[in-house]
């Protein structure tokens, strides 16, 4: 971890002074810079621009012009969506809401000067900065794998070309071949995601390669919706899926991308596809800003402000905040709380109590959807879970179909909420 020492000393170590005073930029209009155009950043940019009616200057920095959502990318692998249906652009945020969309990488943050430096050389001043960079991978977390090997052993945990590559590799598997997944340790993006992916890979293989096998090496004792997934795998894909948990060495793995082998606790498997999902950490820019503690950026629950710098808000997967899972829905929910806090600080608009919620839908097979969700509130310590629900095993087909259809509706809703 590289702490930006100069900036860090400038503000002091600081869970202190989270009270915010209105402040104006040099041109009179307060400036908000948002780094990262996913579920957290796009939502925050849209809500601040929309609700401030032009009183706040909003710039969104996002390297890609076409953004592919991680949520529903497994459904592309399963054949339920076209890749193009999960791709989005930022045109409406610019044209309808007046957000300045800059397609570039943020490569440095000077917390004293309150500026963001872009790879192209531009320097953007801010009154409030919102970082929503998603995840990066912890180096060496899976021995033998590095980002340089991602074309041989894809992670497909940032959607787009990686997802396309993974699907192509699965489609090219020899008859009766082996797809292996190295599942990540906690905490990671989208707790049910790896297991929905297994379901979707199984769905695809059942159609094109029914004697193929699926192997999961998993460092975790248990995982979200486990009973629901295991019931579904048994029901739809009997005999196809094997999971090796930590009690049988599932946490002691290494890979060799050149040889296409996976070593689980000393026993070496030849694999046709190896989907390595490494351990995760906050997107690099958080480290560059010096606002991380361990792998994540701690935040103040009621406002999503960094605990190290009151002028920076952090959203979504990059944060450590308490009980919310790292999900697109969570990031979208947190973004609205942060947008309200930022507007309150910069324009004196009304600030209401923070409310957070999350639901994660997963598809197990055609028309067999399940969900888990919860509501959360801020305590002084953390965002705490206060209520929740989960689909039950043995539910009838009509309910599972309705749950899937609901997830499709949610996708349409959240993407409209993010991109306008």
């Amino acid at each position: 971890m590289t702490l930006n020492r100069r900036a860090f000393i400038g503000t002091g170590a600081a869970a202190a002074a989270m009270l915010s005073a209105p402040m104006l930029g040099a041109q009179g209009k307060p400036r908000v810079v948002v780094v990262g155009g996913g579920a957290g950043g796009a939502t925050a940019a849209r809500y601040i621009a929309k609700d401030s009616d032009g009183a706040i200057d909003v710039t969104l920095v996002e390297p890609t012009r076409a953004y592919y959502t991680c949520f529903f990318s497994n459904l592309y692998i399963g054949g339920f969506r076209e890749l193009s249906s999960i791709g989005h652009s930022y045109g409406t945020l610019a044209s309808e809401y007046g957000v300045n969309v800059v397609h570039d990488w943020a490569v440095g943050i000077d917390r004293e000067a309150k500026t963001v430096t872009l790879a192209g050389g531009a320097v953007l001043p801010y009154d409030r900065l919102i970082l929503s960079p998603g995840i990066d991978f912890v180096e060496e977390s899976v021995p033998g794998w590095s980002v340089a090997a991602q074309n041989k052993m894809p992670h497909a945990y940032k959607a787009g070309s990686q997802t396309e590559l993974l699907k192509a590799q699965i489609e090219a598997m020899p008859e009766g071949g082996l797809y292996a997944m190295v599942a990540p340790p906690n905490p990671y993006r989208c707790p049910p995601g790896p297991y929905e992916r297994i379901s979707m890979v199984a769905h695809l293989l059942k159609q094109i390669n029914p004697t193929a096998k699926i192997l999961i090496a998993d460092p975790k004792d248990k995982f979200s919706k486990q009973a629901l997934f295991e019931e579904g795998w048994q029901k739809h894909y009997g005999g196809m899926v094997e999971r090796i948990g930590p009690d049988f060495g599932g946490g002691n793995v290494s890979v060799n991308p050149d040889e296409m082998t996976l070593d689980i606790d000393g026993s070496v498997e030849n694999v046709n596809v190896c989907n390595v999902i490494p351990a995760q950490k906050a997107g690099r820019i958080c480290d560059m800003a010096g606002i991380t503690e361990g792998n994540w950026a701690p935040v103040v629950p009621a406002t999503m402000q960094s605990r190290m710098d009151e002028n920076i808000h952090v959203l979504g997967d990059a944060t450590s905040q308490g009980d919310m899972p790292k999900s697109g829905y969570s990031a979208n929910s947190q973004a609205k709380v942060a947008a309200m806090a930022v507007r309150g600080a910069l324009t004196d608009s009304k600030v209401f109590p923070a409310k957070f919620s999350n639901t994660c839908w997963s598809l197990i097979d055609a028309d067999d959807g399940v969900k888990v969700g919860a509501s959360y509130e801020a305590t002084e310590e953390k965002i705490a879970k206060v209520d929740g629900f989960i689909s039950q095993t043995g539910e009838d087909a009509a309910l599972r179909k309705a749950t899937y259809e609901e997830s499709v509706g949610w996708y349409a809703g959240i993407t409209e909420d993010m991109f306008g």
Partner: protein, 234 residues
């Protein structure tokens, strides 16, 4: 559960103070109180069964199933088979006096009389059960800020500005332009229909779990505010 009727004007009070959820209790104090239990029970890294079962992972588990290989009393096993799950309220009752819940339990303990003592012990135990950040379905770690229910629900005049803020949560699923793909449109409803529907979810009369959860933590003013906002949305 819903008889908590407060005859007062609530809206300004509710908005003035930030509605923070309550921690279950003070885990550090709970750790000290747990010394009372420590003769029989272990919890934490490497905890093992002793005179009583270890208590790792107790939140959200069926009674009589927490610790593998522990010889539970027939009463506790029966309670588990009958569907007793160790959520916060059940554990609180059990700590008040074990025989409240299980008549022939072997847990020979007179109970913790002070609610705060029980809350603190439970806050301490909660640390060693699943973390909702990783397993979203894991038991809650806090108690929601209380929602107050005054009378004259339908007569409330909603604050559309507050409704606009609250509606951001609805719009994660319900599209603002009124399109309906798998999730119903909620725009331009008559205010009264909206209010009735939301109260039916809140009281779990209508069945949908996501809506029950969402409505369950909205006060009457908040429902009125949403109704006012969605009635006039363009």
């Amino acid at each position: 559960m819903y008889g908590n009727v407060v005859r007062s004007v609530v809206v300004s009070v509710a908005l003035a103070a930030p509605a923070l959820a309550d921690e279950i209790g003070d885990a550090e104090r709970g750790k000290e109180i747990f010394e009372l239990c420590g003769g029989c029970h272990e919890v934490g890294n490497g905890a093992e069964n002793g005179i009583g079962p270890h208590l790792n992972g107790i939140f959200g588990r069926n009674a009589g199933s927490v610790a593998e290989g522990f010889p539970y009393s027939d009463g506790l096993k029966r309670a588990g088979a009958d569907g007793l799950v160790w959520h916060l309220d059940k554990l609180d009752a059990y700590l008040t006096h074990p025989k409240l819940l299980v008549s022939d339990t072997r847990m020979n303990f007179d109970g913790l009389e002070e609610p705060q003592d029980r809350a603190d012990v439970l806050a301490y135990l909660r640390i060693y059960s699943d973390d909702p950040g990783n397993i979203p379905e894991a038991d809650p770690t806090a108690i929601p800020a209380e929602v107050q229910l005054p009378e004259d629900i339908l007569a409330l005049v909603g604050d559309a500005e507050y409704g606009a803020y609250l509606s951001s949560e609805c719009k994660t699923c319900h599209q603002a332009d009124g399109n309906d793909d798998g999730i119903p449109s909620i725009t331009n409803w008559p205010q009264e229909d909206f209010v009735m529907a939301m109260h039916a979810y809140k009281r779990k009369i209508r069945p949908h779990p996501v809506m029950q959860m969402m409505a369950g933590r909205l006060s009457d003013e908040e429902i009125a505010a949403l109704a006012a906002y969605f009635r006039d949305i363009e």
